[in-house]
Subunit: 564 residues, 2 copies
């Protein structure tokens, strides 16, 4: 065992996880998860408004102590002492801004606001600001089109300014009581360092660049003139904001005496600037130039990097391009599919019959595993089906939440197993659209590292991805890549490694089992992808006029060939 | 009780039903069903060839005695005597040709052929002749395009000449032993009359016109020159064939002494010329000009009539237009949907979860009824879904078996109940395409009489049809319209009524419960039908190039309005 460790703290949607990692080997020495006690699995909702999703910042504070002390207790059994911890890194969901007072205390901690969701953290998936998002997009289209070009052409209701503007419209009292709106990823390190005063916050480039239209090219956050045109109060707010955002290899501060005592660690440990979970997760999975990381869970997050000395173009349809948001010294490219595992879950929830459910439990396995095993017995194209993976809209490259799922090729004999496989294939085709777009714009994708629940559990999905994408698919060694990524930034901020890439070399790895693209499947999937693209473009891209009368027959031909 | 009765005998796919009907009131006095003992529920299949479907003609003969004596035994309890039976009518499936010897005896009755499926009746749904069908279509396109115009542009593998030609290619011995190929509908009346010699057969216009390209306009059956070009033996066969086909108000003969004794009826009862089940079923349901009959079962059969003194055009995509095939003195128009109930069955078989199955059995009902009840609680458009009802291809108006089913509009929250409703709506939209095509070509459809299993059991389907089609939907009073229709022809052939239409007035009726088109649903369904037509034309009609990028949004808009 090396003497040095790093601590990663990963704030997710429902819980927070702490992870103690050996900085020399990446060995995970201790971990602990704390489930948020508030609301519905940590999410404050509103029966009257499905768009509302908030978090209680008190859960963040309680969860810090519980998760870190738990992880350290495990690590101590392996000989790790508090003094071995070189640094602390933190990731959170985002954009999750918190309205705070002049001391940086969340408004929700004040008695008068304790039960007001508008005073809490506005969770990433809160969509209450959809009208404001449209307003901001329209204004930027007219006044600052270059702002939009870096975030795929549309400003989202999930993002920073939409939420603030919505609060201003919906709850004047909360808005006026807020001295600043601080991203959860920025507030957490400040809290550990014992100083949350807004003017002392060191904002991360990840949140600022991907969600708040920050870019050094135009002097940081969007200019006050522009924001004033949308609403005068936004202009005023902008003037109080930070002038610079930082990559996460920088220190945000050092662990305060008070927090050190609570966590059972020595005071003064460096705390890195915060970033989002998916971005630090990509680092923990081993992202590098040419090595795309795909986090496969309920949705997918596709992260790629390119040295910031290279010339890049804006990539139409990509959600974000930010210098340093993933790896310092590299442009970070964020893309994703709005639903992957969620599509399979939704199918299993409602469209799998009792006979199949019983067959799964007869084999002492869950329905997903059973369906995957059965679907694995089919050949590519044998189902005669083709699906579009738009059950939750399309994030990349169409950037359109108002698209829906489709399944075609049904006969009277179509089975649930066949549809399940078609849905898996559809997500693979969706993944291929993203990769092809990136390659077309000069972002090389030589291999793909998968992480997340599906990567851990479903070999069928990974083999189909290898066959459809014709790329080597590998799986990240760690099953908690986000916390590992945070620990890596902690290690670098604490001086245990000289750079993030150097730390990655020591602390990340891939699993033994890899998935190679197969030639025979390539031929079939190229044909099916052709059909997918025809449907994708026809139904998703205005102005496309394609003769689709051959697509069902093409599916029948492919099916006949697969069977014959 | 009137003194006169008529006997209808309905030969279906799995069984034969006899029905004794009061000719003055349509009251059903006795009925009996005989299930064919041979094969799989009456169908001889071949594990190696899914296209093969035959019937054992011995089942027809055994079933005749069993069903008629059973029905008469019931009727006798209500005071009906054998001498009260004015006439006998017979319907069968078709095209179901039987190879027979010089005496008209089915080859399958000969010892050497007893187990040879090629010597049996070639059931309507036998598709072994698909290559020969394509060959005949090609030849007709080049040499006799007017032949094709009357059967929708494509000669089917289900039809007379395809089957004969396939036998010639596949089993020379059977082919050479056959003196003639007699449709089941033509053979049965001859058998009752005690004389099946081919030259004495009186072929029905229904089978000849719809399946064998018979038309008085070109001198009956297709000319020998044309058939010779396809295969010389067909030309030779043609020369021995009948010169004229008859409507079913004509007598084929009179009940023979021998059969009379077996059936317990007096000899000499007139036996009407035979026709197909769907056609006689339309008559039993009350078809008339402006009153389309829709038989809703596993598939749909849509029958309409128009006085033969009117000028008509060929209707593109309609499977058949034959003078007198349904009602004497009227053109008969046959259209249909390749699958209706089969689509719902296939969904219930594989895509309804155990929870729903349990809920249905908890309510002591079957899954179809449960899903229909739940789907009935949804508003039109509320599911956000749209389906294409092509799971078994499209018969009318696209005439393309190589089309498949589609469901679009899935979200992560879509339920089985919603999909079930969307499938019902899809079949309604498919029905609307047929009706609009008929109206466009001058065939009036003022109201629709439904018959068949779904019409009897599923009010949701009928109400949706009324709303989508904006037509009054009524249900035939009899639940055995085919046998009733056969009895009507028996009554007319036997002189109990002067004409089929006069007999219909007395002997048919509709149920009390009718389904009125609703205005509010009209608006929604007109919009959804617009989306259906866009998808229908784009995916089903070569050369169509439509911008489909708005269709998913249109479904979401309709959904939001329905919910709001």
């Amino acid at each position: 065992m090396s003497k040095k460790c790093a601590l990663g703290i990963d704030y997710g949607t429902n819980s927070v996880r702490a992870l103690v990692v050996d900085t020399a080997t990446g060995r995970e020495m201790g971990t602990c998860v704390y489930n948020y006690p508030s609301g519905d699995a940590g999410i404050i909702t509103d029966g009257k408004d499905a768009n509302l999703a908030r978090q209680n910042p008190a859960d963040y504070v309680r969860g810090l102590e519980a998760s870190v002390t738990g992880a350290m207790a495990q690590a101590r059994k392996l000989g790790v002492r508090g003094t071995d911890v070189a640094g602390i890194g933190i990731d959170t969901t985002g954009s999750t801004p918190i309205p705070v007072d002049g001391k940086g205390t969340p408004l929700a901690f004040a008695k008068e606001f304790r039960k007001n969701p508008n005073a809490m953290a506005w969770l990433w998936k809160d969509h209450t600001g959809h009208a404001e998002a449209a307003e901001i997009t329209e204004a930027a289209k007219k006044l600052r089109p270059h702002y939009l070009a870096k975030c795929g052409g549309t400003y989202s209701s999930e993002w920073y300014w939409s939420k603030i503007l919505h609060c201003r419209r919906a709850d004047r009292k909360v808005f006026e009581s807020a001295e600043a709106w601080v991203e959860h990823a920025d507030w957490m390190p400040a809290y550990l360092a014992g100083d949350t005063r807004p003017e002392r916050i060191k904002p991360g480039i990840c949140a600022a660049g991907h969600k708040a239209m920050y870019n050094d090219a135009w002097g940081g956050y969007p200019d006050a003139e522009f924001l004033k045109k949308i609403d005068p109060v936004l202009g005023a707010l902008r003037k109080k904001m930070w002038s610079k955002a930082y990559t996460s290899d920088n220190k945000a501060g050092r662990l305060s005496e008070k927090n050190a005592a609570r966590l059972g660690l020595p005071a003064g440990i460096p705390v890195a600037v915060g970033a989002f979970d998916a971005h630090m997760g990509a680092v923990g999975a081993g992202v590098s130039e040419g090595r795309l990381v795909k986090v496969l869970g309920t949705s997918s997050c596709d992260m790629a990097v390119l040295k910031n000395t290279r010339k890049i173009k804006d990539v139409p349809g990509l959600c974000g391009i930010v210098d340093g948001s993933i790896l310092p010294g590299y442009y970070g490219f964020e893309a994703g599919q709005s639903a992957v595992g969620d599509i399979f879950n939704s199918f299993v929830r409602d469209f799998v019959n009792g006979r199949t459910e019983n067959a799964a439990s007869g084999k002492k396995t869950d329905v997903h595993t059973y369906l995957s095993q059965e679907a694995g017995k089919l050949k590519a194209g044998e189902s005669g089906l083709l699906a579009l993976d738009w059950h939750n809209g399309n994030r990349t490259v169409l950037v359109d939440p108002r698209l829906t799922g489709l399944v075609m090729g049904y006969t009277l004999h179509t089975t649930a197993v066949e549809v399940y496989r078609a849905l898996v294939e559809a997500t693979a085709f969706g993944a291929r659209v993203i990769v092809e777009r990136e390659e077309e714009y000069g972002i090389p994708v030589r291999e793909i590292i998968c992480a997340g629940g599906i990567a851990e559990k479903n070999p069928l999905v990974l083999q189909i991805y290898a066959d459809v994408l014709q790329k080597m698919i590998k799986v990240a060694r760690s099953s908690q890549t986000c916390a590992l990524g945070a620990a890596i930034f902690g290690a670098v901020a604490g001086g245990a490694h000289k750079s993030v890439t150097a730390a990655q070399k020591k602390m990340t790895g891939i699993k033994k089992e890899t998935y190679r693209p197969r030639t025979r499947e390539k031929k079939t999937y190229d044909r099916l992808y052709g059909v997918y693209r025809k449907m994708h473009d026809s139904l998703g891209m205005p102005g496309t006029r394609t003769d689709l009368s051959g697509v069902m027959k093409e599916l029948l031909d492919v099916k006949a060939e697969a069977a014959g």
